[in-house]
Amino acid sequence: MKGHAESAAPFVANEPRAHWHDESLWFVRVKRDRQASTVPEWEDLRATASAIKAHTLSRLADYLEEFERNATANGIHVHWARDGAEHNAIVLRILKDHGVKRLVKSKSMLTEECHLNPYLEAHGIEVTDTDLGERIVQMRKEPPSHIVLPAIHLKKEDIGELFHIQLGTEKGASDPKYLTEAARGHLRERFLGAQAGLTGVNFAIASTGGVVVCTNEGNADMGTSLPPLHIACMGVEKIVPRPQDLAIFLRLLARSATGQPVTTYTSHFHGPLPGGEMHVVIVDNGRARILGEEAFRRSLSCIRCGACMNTCPVYRRSGGYSYGYTVPGPIGSILGPQRDPAAYGSLPFASSLCGSCTDVCPVKIDLHHELLAFRQELAKKGHVPWQKRFSMWVMGQVLARKWAFLLGGRLMRTLMPLLPRALVYGPWNPWGKQRELPPMPKESFRDLLKKEPK
């Protein structure tokens, strides 16, 4: 698999578009700042949210079982899935049992992670993603490029072109309002024809046995109030102990995600529709293993707000697809290599370790420290290329010996200016592709120090 730098190159090469992408996401970051600054207790909220998550994760099994008991008492069927394959099979079985051929879905990164759509489609079920952004990428047969803003990599002209082909809108039309209306009409048909609705879960409340879904378009509500069958899919980490705890997260989520005080719809589901059925599928898919690793445990606190993506200077300039994993950006660069260190080994290095993600994260995940810890983990397991390990070993050996360090420095400073430019700035020098090397002074600090009056 290509590494991040290689996948990012074409995105960066289109500089106007990279800048447009950067500005679009920075705009969201600025909105977030504005909203967060209106909450005087913002930092306390973050600390509390982080503590609630840490507590919940330390008693995860208990809370999950409490949730199961209460959900069952509410008339919800609860299923447990060890991995993506089990999850997909459970969903298919429920749909088959009800003779469902047409399914509408609201946003769920978990089902993306499990590759549910292609699985269901292969079994003859028509799946419609109903979140506008998700529908757009679904029509393009692409995965989302951002967990909250799935089509953020597309300009309105791209969407106009897509809708012209798929929905018969006027050629060249790119007015967002016009396009949204067209999508609405199209989605309404799908809603009306659907036999089941599937949603993700933002939070599951242990003490009440209910789940909460946050959307801006109301599509989760449409998808669950028309058809009689509702399936909600959640990772084990979505649990919060009590409704009081939920309040903390709801104040943080939309502000961090899109700079809104709250999502337009915050829908609580505590049982099936009259005469209907509701199922919750609880999925592990590698999470229990992460929970067992102290250095990375906190990544399970993630509430998928996307703020770390919006703030990440690398993500903004390289785009979601450069990461090659379902969840991109800083948090994805921890979750991806957890799943498959060989395939996603370059992701922890796709960061300047600036730490903006850590400071923006509403649940205070120490993202840039986890990225650094992961680099060490990858090196230990042999997933860092030998050239890099070798050069670091050499560098370590030189720097550990004063004489070698001073000799190396002197050689560099005297020889470099004597070499022909073509030799110094050849293709083997990635620093020099767009940058000059630093000036090579005749004397080092130590040399000058000898002449400095005491």
């Binding site: 990012a8 290095f349 796709a350 680099r375 060490q376 550990a400 004063k402 767009q434 630093p438």
Partner: protein, 249 residues
Amino acid sequence: MPKVGLFIPCYVDQLYPQVGLSTLRVLRGLGLDIEFPEEQTCCGQPMANSGCSEDARPLAEKFLRIFARYDHVVAPSGSCVSMVRNHYEQWLAGKPGFEHLRDNTFELCEYLVDVAKVTKVDGDFARKVGLHMSCHGLRELRMAKSSERMVAPFNKVKVLLEQLRGIQLVDLKRPDECCGFGGTFAVAEEAVSCLMGQDRIRDHEQAGAEVIAGFDMSCLMHLEGLLTRDKKPMQVLHVAQILEHARLS
């Protein structure tokens, strides 16, 4: 009087000797008893940040051996200080003298403001200056409020510079976005790194800066490399080079 060990990061020693001298002079100007232990080389950050932590360990151990004897250690680099303060634990936890070293190693501005309690900066610098708040000093040492955090504003670099007569600190659109240096990142992710740097420079340009001032030469080396290649007149300076000509008290 406290005995201060001067820690000059390896690349500053070899490539930016003037910055080392300026740092020394600023500290001497305060009448401090300052010493540069000759055995020092590097804090080990390049190896550690590449994941090769076992190659960094001997350097951390060496650093402790060299600097444990000082009351305070001061360096003109936020990033290298953060290495000692926030990342040495993994190799040195429990070793005699480590806690003292960790708690008494400071970046220059931090040292001036927090330890030497400098409140007055008397000097001239009639230039338009854009402040580059390098990430590790900003978010790992908390030398200023980062734009993400909703706490009372403070900035330990600005409080010093803004007192200089004639200085004009310009307002950036993005006050603390990363310049894209990031150590080996600058090379491994060359394309993204350079675009980040060029964007930073553009921000300083639109704000009217003549000088980009910072407390980490590594970031400034990256920005300077881009500026020189693109033949732009903007200059980079380490804060120590600006403060050197002022009287601090």
